[in-house]
């Protein structure tokens, strides 16, 4: 699909899923806000309410594009972010061929091999080490930013600081940075391993 000015249209559909209470919707909101208000792209957010809000699999659906978005629902995501096993079970079949799968490695048992990229992170564990399990969603956002570049780093940092409760900006920014650093380290490690340099030179 092309934009009105004739350039190739860039559009990414992102589905974030997890338990109710993990801050899934907030994560989607932070990501969408960063893309639209800070990065000057178009974005939409739809969220599933209902029984999920009491602890089942809930989801936030974000679309980020460089032109108008006409349909806000995500049927087949390009990027699937899973923070619970039920969420994974429910939405994994809809992931696009060669889509990116991102998950909390301590909460989701994911397949070893998939058609697209696979990015595990112990987000909840990292948040616990930082002192608050609640921040797992922000850690995950940092990680998503690093490995997918769905929104820019500066936009995300500003959006995180705007969206979290007052007085927790600092700890949430630290959590975000931790997730981002983890993502960058993971990408670097993969690059090194692909180049055949797994350990330190001997």
């Amino acid at each position: 699909m092309k934009n009105r000015n004739g350039t190739e249209r860039k559009k990414r559909e992102i589905l974030i899923t997890g338990f109710g209470g993990q801050g899934i919707v907030l994560a989607g909101q932070v990501l969408g806000t960063a893309a639209s208000l800070k990065d000057r792209l178009h974005s939409t957010l739809t969220q599933s309410y209902g029984p999920e809000a009491r602890g089942g699999a809930c989801s936030a659906q974000v679309i980020i594009a460089d032109g108008p978005i006409h349909y806000p629902y995500v049927d087949n995501p390009d990027i699937l972010v899973c923070m619970s096993q039920t969420g994974y079970d429910k939405y994994y079949p809809f992931l696009k061929e060669n889509g990116v799968l991102i998950f909390d490695q301590d909460l989701v048992r994911a397949p070893e091999k998939v058609s697209g990229d696979l990015f595990p992170i112990p987000a909840t564990r990292i948040a616990e080490e930082l002192g608050r399990k609640m921040m797992a969603n922000i850690v995950m956002l940092g990680f998503v930013t690093a490995v997918t570049g769905a929104a820019s780093l500066d936009a995300m940092l500003a959006s995180v600081a705007d969206s979290v409760p007052k007085g927790t900006e600092e700890s949430n920014t630290a959590a975000f940075t931790k997730g981002f650093d983890f993502g960058q380290a993971l990408l670097k490690g993969r690059e090194r391993k692909a180049a055949g340099r797994k350990g330190a030179a001997s």
């Binding site: 960058q184 380290a185 993971l186 670097k188 993969r190 797994k198 350990g199 330190a200 030179a201």
Partner: protein, 528 residues
Amino acid sequence: MENELKIILFMCNWSPHAAFQTLQDTLAPIPREVRMVRIPCSGRITKSLLFKAFETGADGVALVGCEPGTCRYGSGTAVAERNVGATREIFKLLGLGEERLTFAAFHPDQSGPLLDFLTGFRDRIASLGKSPVQQRTRKKEPPLSPKSAASIMSAHNIYTCQDCGKCSSACPVALSGKSFSPRAIAGAIAAGELDSAPIREDIWSCLTCGLCYDRCPSAVSFPEFIRDMRTVQRASGNPRFEAHEGFFQALMRTMASPDLPVDHWHWLPPSIHTDQSSKTLFFGGCAPYFDIFFRSHLDVRTADILSDGLRLLNFFDIYPAILKNERCCGHDLLWSGDREDFLKLARLNVELISDMGIEELITACPECYRAFSHDYPANGIETGFKVTHLFEVAEKVIGKGAIGFRKLNRRITFQDPCRLSRTEGGSELPRKLLNRLKVRNFTEMRDRGPSSLCCGNCAWIGCDSSSKAMQVNRLRQAKETGSDLLLTACPKCQIHLRCAMEDPFLGDEIRMEMLDLTSVLARTIQWE
């Protein structure tokens, strides 16, 4: 006279001296720069004696002995060749020029070849010119007066001592069976007993390990007090109890010569990447000198810490600069009472490093770390760059994630270096990394962390039977943990503990493989 070359000829009493006498009897033209010192056997001229000739002004030294097989004592020639070989290697690092030191052997009837050798050696030294080692006259300071003692005592809170004795009950020297007590020394000096023989000896027995300071309820900084007492004692010319015949003190004083073209890194493997335009400097430390000095009887390989440290930084994508003419940090000069030369060396180091535009200095040596971060500023030398221990860098990068360690099928324990473990947070830093390693298990020794025991010596001073007792005690503690690999984080811990393992009577009871934590990190680290 000032510019005339000085060549020292150490001449064995036996075969070659007869040849030399023939030259003298026939009024042969022996080069006039050559000064002959007659010695009983070339094998008795140690690395330290060879080196001290240069420290005190020689431009060339020739050690002349008997032909192999004709040594009156059997092994003299072999030992002399080994000592000269090692000292030459040290000269290469130091930039003094290997050619300035040589060994030769002659039969009694070889006066002609001996004269040729002497003339040739003189010509070679003449072509090299005067030695770059700076000479200086040291004036003798007056002995300690009650007034200067009082100012030292008040500077380190000695007067606040409550005489509780916690220091003496923790002091590893006292516990090794030596009649030594920090409290008693403080008391005696406060009572005006400044220059008695026991005090003069005791201030050189202290390890300055800092365990007493850790325990002291009044924060009496006994180690620093001892350090200042040593400075005064040394300046007034009293005996100094230097170990290894003062070789390392002489080496460090020599390094304070600004014109010395030190070549500290010539041995570095090419697989390691450094970048001279970097704003980060890796400061290695003196381990390459130690390896050469102790090679013949200890087989220590502490220079691996330097190359493994750099490998680890390369793994983290840090390509630091190295100081080609890196010198000693001066830690041991300061702690062996030579504040004057410490200051010279420190100023020279800061100047060389600042000229490179360095913003951060990374080191793996706890003593360099302490000297740059603490002793330099405390002595009025502002560095202008940040000083970081390699472990801090490692912990920070590894903490970001995606880095793990290869399995190492060993049971390990850890010897804390005093200069790291007794600083704030210094004992936790290596432990964070130790707990990341994938080993069979990591067991702590009985005395550990801020309470851990010294390896038995500090600043190359006062090695004796109680140092040995401490080392054996420490190694027994290590064995007690059931570990088969002892990790350390200081090259000197390795040297001293390895020395104790040479004991022929204790043998396997205390023998244990040792490695530096830096090396283990670099050899097992990997991307997950």
